[in-house]
Amino acid sequence: MVTEVGRQPWLIHGVLRVKDAVTPVPGLQVSFFTSVAVYLFLGSVVALLLYRHVVSVPIGTRPEADAARSARSVHAP
């Protein structure tokens, strides 16, 4: 935030302004909101999947049982 906001209105300080560098393609807000929505969605899926991984590990099992289970469940590296 500091670098991005701090250098405004320059993209490259003293050389190129952000408003001169931006693409002239219309409807950029569509790209912006789509990207934000996609990353919010994917981010929440990651959080959900990590959460499921954590809660699916029972507490207090023996280490060798854990090792055997993870060897079975990991297919892809």
């Binding site: 996609v38 899926v45 892809a76």
Partner: protein, 334 residues
Amino acid sequence: MTFWAEILWLTLGAGVILYALTGGPDLGAGVWNLLASGRRKAEQREALLHAIAPIWEANHVWLIFVIVLMFSAFSRAFSAISIALHIPIALAVLGIVFRGAAFAFHAYGIHTDRTRRRWSRVFSISSSLTPLLLGNVAGALGTGEIRVIDGRVTTGFLAGWTTPFAWLVGAFTLALFATLAAVYLCAEADDPALADDFRARALGSEIVTGVFAALVVWSARSAAPALYSVLMSSAWTWLVQGATAALALSTMALLWTRRPRLARYTCALQATLVVLGWGLAMDHHFILPDVSVASAISYAPVLPVFAIAFAGGALLLVPAFLYLLRVFKLARKH
């Protein structure tokens, strides 16, 4: 054109070829995930997921390589292309993001069967749409409909990529990538019945690729006249196109006679010549007719430095990449 611009143009071509040979079948595998059928439906999916799992991220390094080389050495072309073809490129990016995410979620998540199937479907569909869009972008550059005057795109945001020709090139690309995937999978399959499934798919998709290749050339005559005139007027194109067709036929003959390990090489060579033929037909242009290699140079004095930097990078990258393939592809065979 300077010597160094020529070297970097060729390096860019090499990057596109490597992407077609590695990232291409990686995307093409999505088609076979979508079209998995018959008695060994589950085994087909298992085989292709297993084949791409260790290396799919590495394969897409070549696309990044092409993009970085373009914006550092040929930024004028990069700027014009990303403005004129903003829409198909943005859609292709979405496809790449969704396929990668869906693949990772599918492989690592703890799911019910239903959600796993759903992620598998997202992976298949976005993998199949991406080559269609990448091919569309490549086709659009040759239509002559995108005009760039004094460094500005003057034809708006729909020129080129909305033509039937560009979509035919997209469909051709998809068919070619699917063929590569099926041939690689056929060669890698341990189970003979499974190898036969992929063999049938490879033969079928090779025919579809041939049909689309003919349609692309036929359609180029009116839709991409500049490209077509280079294709028809020089001796080397006939040589390259003839060799491409000969390799496609050899691939089919080798598959027919159950020699998929050899077919893998002829098919890879076929895809290499397709990219080479396209590069030659573009006649030293990024966008026909306005953006030539010479006019796209960012800043001529830095070109030799780029060339040396890329050569140095290749010294590190190529052995690492070959080692990766060796570990995950050859070692499996014991």
